[in-house]
């Protein structure tokens, strides 16, 4: 496993002349493993939260494939997804919904995993387009993954190549139903099957140069 030199453990001389040891993978990340986050104890509270989560879907604006172009029209007057409480956030910390918009090369998969792990529980994943389902037109490519659900817990797939924005809107409606029924537990599923997901991810990402869980 080749590591980039800036990720190696090394001695650094600070501006005040003191030398100290830096080990980026330990120092820059939180080491705590992820835990299963239980739902609120009282059912009515959890129902209220689930309703709020369904009505306020914040999407991580991270275009991973050609499907990202289908999300732009959703902000325009013609489709106007804001009507349904769907908004775009530029940072994974604030987002709840990660849309994998098309094919994922192994290089993008690494970034997608990092972004997904930085999102806060509960979080949802939508696979957009055929490429996320079975590879689509990249089924024999040397560098794209074929099944997204091997690597991230997917709540919903939207089929098509590419699906129209209307299909996305209908997908949001279906996701709302899932969340309101309390079935949007992808984050906990990820934690419960953590070893399986990590093994799958490490099988295709050959230069794994990050900690196992990116807080």
């Amino acid at each position: 496993m080749a590591m980039k030199p800036e990720l190696m453990k090394r001695m650094v001389k600070g501006p005040d002349g003191l030398e100290f040891e830096v080990e980026p993978l330990r120092d820059y990340y939180c080491e705590a493993p992820p835990t299963v986050m239980p739902a609120a104890y009282i059912k009515i509270v959890e129902d209220l939260f689930n309703w709020a989560r369904a009505e306020s879907i914040w999407i991580l604006g991270f275009g991973t494939g050609c499907g990202a172009i289908e999300m732009r029209p959703l902000m325009t007057p013609r489709f106007d997804a804001y009507r349904y409480g769907v908004q775009w956030r530029p940072t994974p910390r604030q987002a709840n919904l990660f849309i994998i918009s098309g094919y994922l090369s192994t290089k993008t998969l690494k970034r997608a995993i990092r972004a997904y792990e930085q999102m806060q529980n509960p979080k949802y994943v939508i696979g957009l387009g055929s490429c996320t389902i079975n590879g689509g037109m990249y089924w024999d490519s040397y560098n794209t993954i074929k099944r997204l659900d091997d690597y991230l817990p997917v709540d919903l797939y939207i089929a098509g190549c590419m699906p129209r924005p209307e299909a996305l809107l209908s997908g949001f409606m279906d996701l709302k139903k899932l969340i309101r029924a309390g079935k949007g537990e992808g984050a906990n599923k990820y934690v419960e099957n953590f070893d399986w997901y990590k093994a799958n991810q490490k099988r295709v990402i050959h230069d794994w140069d990050m900690p196992d869980y990116n807080w």
Binding site: A2, T106, K107, K110, I133, N134, G135, W139, D140, S141, Y142, N143, T144, I145, K146, R147, D150, R203, V204, I205, H206, D207, W208
Partner: protein, 182 residues
């Protein structure tokens, strides 16, 4: 003077100076000539300085597996005359090495980095040549070489979802449109 005559006169002038091959006229404004490997640099410099081909449009490669050769194509453009000229260089496929031209066009460094990664052609002296460009942690032979079996690699590396079917488009559409076989 038409574009075609400009191109032919240019070829005549080039032929007097360098051992270039015949002109392949793709379009009136696009031609290709073959240059021996050791004369490439002087030809490029001549075209750039004397003939106004100041823009390197692209640098790409073709794998002629059966002939055991790589073909490099340097596509140059003359903006005022709006004509493009491609220089072809044939390299032996084993341990392919080519002189770097990053000092003539700095953009060439990026093309050469890509060619090194995708075809395994070495360009000694080109900056950041051995850094990963697109593929991260690639262990197999370079994927754009034609002896690399993409389908086999994909099947071995990535799990396929069962149930995928492939149809030949012609027969499939015939079935769809004329189910009675008419």
């Amino acid at each position: 003077m038409t574009t075609l005559t400009i191109m032919r006169e240019l070829h005549t002038r080039l032929k007097a100076l360098f051992p270039v091959g015949e002109l392949t006229e793709q379009r009136p404004a696009l031609g290709f000539v073959t240059v021996p490997k050791e004369h490439l640099r002087t030809t490029l410099m001549h075209l750039r300085v004397k003939e106004g081909f100041t823009h390197l449009v692209l640098l790409t490669a073709v794998d002629w597996l059966e002939e055991g050769q790589f073909q490099l194509t340097y596509l140059l453009s003359n903006r005022p005359l709006a004509i493009d000229l491609g220089l072809r260089v044939m390299l032996p496929r084993d341990a392919a090495t080519m002189e770097s031209i990053h000092d003539v066009w700095p953009t060439a460094a990026t093309y050469q980095r890509e060619l090194r990664e995708m075809f395994g052609i070495d360009f000694p002296g080109s900056p950041r040549l051995h850094e990963e460009f697109i593929l991260e942690g690639w262990k197999d032979i370079p994927p754009y070489r034609r002896d690399f079996d993409t389908l086999k690699y994909a099947n071995e590396s990535y799990s396929q979802r069962p149930g995928r079917e492939t149809h030949d488009p012609a027969t499939h559409m015939k079935q769809q449109l004329y189910p009675n076989g008419r």
